[in-house]
Symmetry: D2
Subunit: 304 residues, 4 copies
């Protein structure tokens, strides 16, 4: 019997005193306001139990973690049709995402890099009547929590300064891989990334991926097979060019965000979320990565 609470407490106490806590992202002014001392861990077991410590109930900007939620909704709409417009291969490239997009004729490598997530946004916009409202409702629904919202300051901040995303969207459009207007797609995308959630909400939102597609309140949102495939994509593509490293060191499907959040899961077992705003050189939460590595080492639980 694994002592989840004891384990995360030990890890928390250990890492809380780490001299090196990484650098808080500053390219979005709103994100830079967070203190690198923030640190929370939350586990949502498949059987309903929860374990938590630290700042587990403080909301933060989930940023790229939202890409998995958007992907699940797009797959619910179109199933495997979406793979005509993007691939499922790791990008494997530390530096030049636009280059790969250009070399490969506007087909993003996978749905978890920005270019792929923009295509996912485009798909959702084509299916949803009120895209931003409807997507927010989906997230509230799978989490069972109506307090979740977009942070409009963060969305506006990215709208103004996200030149690289503007570049990616225009490049996709030049390859005819966006059906909606560039500005409409970017507006949706910046809102999606600006979702604010705490660790507990994040664990609940990802419950369906650990539970064969059924969310927390037992509703089947995607099929068991779709859940497995999203887990496979998280494992191979969830951590930018550190995906192999995460699979190697942690061994769980997961996704990180530049706001300092990470969520990972063991199918049929648990979801674990961490939040620590300081990032490592690859843009993933420094303490979060260490916490998850220690967690799978101490509990000896991983998919491998």
């Amino acid at each position: 019997m694994i002592d989840y609470q004891g384990t995360i407490e030990a890890i928390y106490n250990n890492l809380k005193q780490a001299p090196e806590k990484g650098i808080v992202a500053s390219y979005i002014p709103e994100l830079s306001k967070q203190s690198s001392d923030r640190f929370g861990i939350h586990i949502q077991h498949i059987d309903g139990r929860t374990f938590q410590i630290g700042d587990w109930n403080v909301p933060f900007s989930i940023q790229s973690i939202s890409k998995v939620l958007a992907l699940s909704k797009a797959i619910a709409f179109e199933d495997n049709l979406i793979w005509k417009r993007m691939d499922v291969e790791p990008s494997g490239n530390p530096f030049n995402h636009l280059s790969l997009l250009e070399l490969e004729n506007g087909i993003p490598r996978n749905p978890l890099i920005n270019a792929g997530a923009l295509v996912v946004s485009d798909i959702l916009i084509s299916h949803l009547k009120h895209p931003k409202e409807d997507f927010l409702n989906y997230v509230r629904n799978i989490t069972g929590d109506d307090t979740i919202s977009y942070n409009l300051d963060v969305a506006a901040s990215e709208q103004r300064t996200g030149y690289r995303n503007h570049a990616a969207a225009n490049l996709l459009k030049s390859f005819d891989n966006l059906n909606n207007d560039v500005d409409v797609v970017l507006d949706f995308y910046f809102h999606q990334c600006a979702l604010e959630m705490n660790c507990a909400q994040l664990s609940k939102a990802f419950y369906l991926f650990a539970n064969k597609g059924k969310c927390f309140n037992d509703k089947q949102h995607i099929s068991s097979s779709q859940a497995k495939r999203i887990n496979a994509i998280m494992l191979t593509c969830g951590f930018y060019d550190e995906a192999g490293e995460f699979a190697f060191e942690v061994g769980l499907p997961g996704k990180s965000g530049v706001g300092g959040g990470i969520v990972a899961l063991l199918p049929n077992d648990f979801v674990i979320s961490t939040w620590a705003p300081g990032l490592n050189a690859k843009g993933n939460s420094l303490l979060g990565m260490q916490a998850l590595e220690q967690f799978t080492t101490r509990t000896n639980r991983s998919i491998f």
Copy 2:
């Protein structure tokens, strides 16, 4: 003594019947209206004589040829300072201009690829009080011809559909290599490319590069050394990934545009302009390239 008129007549009559005339550019609706039967040649000798045949006096969209004129104005303002923001090396890359820009941290390879020309636009905007009007006046001035104008339909058409240029401008901005707003830079750039001129006007406009920086009406717009350097850039970078081929087959500094125009020059000797809207696979005028190759072969004149 070279028989310029006889030579261009022979070339014109020869190529006019060519079975293969290339493909008229269609990505800008306005350009696609031209007939591939259009064909004109014009020579402006440094001593004042002119020679012409065919559609030499029909205006067309000069497109990328405008980049050399913009560059000359930017060099007049900032001289070698502009090379802090772009390089003078051939791009040597047939397919992925944005990739190179990304790999090289937002420093365009040279001022004659789109990314470099956008930086040149940015420089002009920073120096000119009424950028579009003032640049047009500069072109009218060096050509001694006030009838030259922008084609506003072409500019508007590129504004709406030039996604790849929007992508390049946003990417440059993300690397802090544009000082003005992305939209302002693109608006200027699309106007500049939408200049309409005929072969005779083009020959006159490039007279200053063959004449040590002095234009047709004897005004010194750039220094002799600046003119030489612009010629060097035209030779190494003027024809996209066919620059080496053009130097090899023709052996003159020059610049082509997707509207089917080409202008080339022998320093201290002559400027030659051709117009034939059908393009070869690399985006350069098919008949124009052949005409210039035949011209330098028949007259045995080249810089080599």
Copy 3:
């Protein structure tokens, strides 16, 4: 209770009649002699049971599958020290392996692409007294089968015509990432790839990865943690640029070879090997990929 035998029989009978069986590799003359009608499946359960059908006991050239066995021996010698000389990230690149190697200063992306496997060869040569003999003995040892041998004709054939591997080895040497002579490393590497095994032997050889590092005869060759990490590398890097696809469709760590073999495993559960010489466009066994996809779908077993 899963009916392993019934499942592989159903899959075998189904695929045996497939109209499209892929193309047998011809770049090594010896490999091209195989018939694309060959097809075998073998399962080695962790509890000792085996299930098999078709050509499961016909030896074939395991080629790149040998890279995992060599990696396990290198990790046994040096543990994490080997990661100073190569990375654990997917190559994510369909076409230009040498390009990536050059861009990244001679550090191969992972140990399962050719360049990485050459570094692994170099490590083994530095540790083994009689490298080729000792490595063969290791494979015989973990498999409990002394009949396994190198096919010397295949090794000689690759030695003569493997120009791309010669290029990779020389490039690694130019970056000081080979300690031994280029020719010595290539000789070892070509022998390693020329190992001949049948499906049953392959399943037994990979038993240790499904069994926390303990091989078939209960000897601990690598630690439990090392076995997990090798599984992670197989999942993210085992199928060239189809790795994401395999994780997505099959969901098991595995490795393919150009000889038509594939081996995959579910930790603490089973190893499954397939052999069918016809390859798909990405160089992986066409029937093998389909067999494994059908197997995990029918049994609903995968790591996700």
Copy 4:
């Protein structure tokens, strides 16, 4: 009337005292023995006059400069047929020559990068009965100097340590772009690069390119048109990724070598050779580049 002697004396005296003289190449042990204080300039005018100063008569390893001589012989044999096996475009790439070769299916960008020069070597081997002897005789012949020889120590040194060239040759072979054995091609290539000449001999050897294909002793080795094309290739491709810079700053066709030599020419006018072993960051002679830039500025002579 240009004072050639006075000009090179002024430049020599000026640069001789430069505090920064670049770094002598050390990757070939033999080359590293040269002192960075060596400096010589030699001009061979088309009318027979010569001007010289400093170490103009000290032999040095011409290295890559030999590529132009080999190219001229290959063109004499096959004329434009050679362009089926390589291109004439600048490589435009500072770092990854093998990458481009791989991306472009084994067709080198131009004959003056290593990969292209290896293809030229392959062509010469196919045509010459005794390749090394016959090529040496060609160089002696166009120079009118039988004392020119290979430095066998330099050739042997490159043979042992030129891993990157071994990689390039094997990669070319893998694309079927070498007809002869890899080892035979490399042996010829390393000898060709190991030619030793002084500035005066170099000027004489390149006389034919400034003189419409006729060498010093009035023999027509290549046609006037072939000479022009080789000049065009030198201008666009002669200085690695500093080719654009050289055209921009100097404005003459030329070629540099890692031994510190540079030769440049003004068609129908003169050949100028410099030697100074210290290299700049791009691998071209530091003082040589400065000397040529000052020379064309002071004399106001360039092709532009």
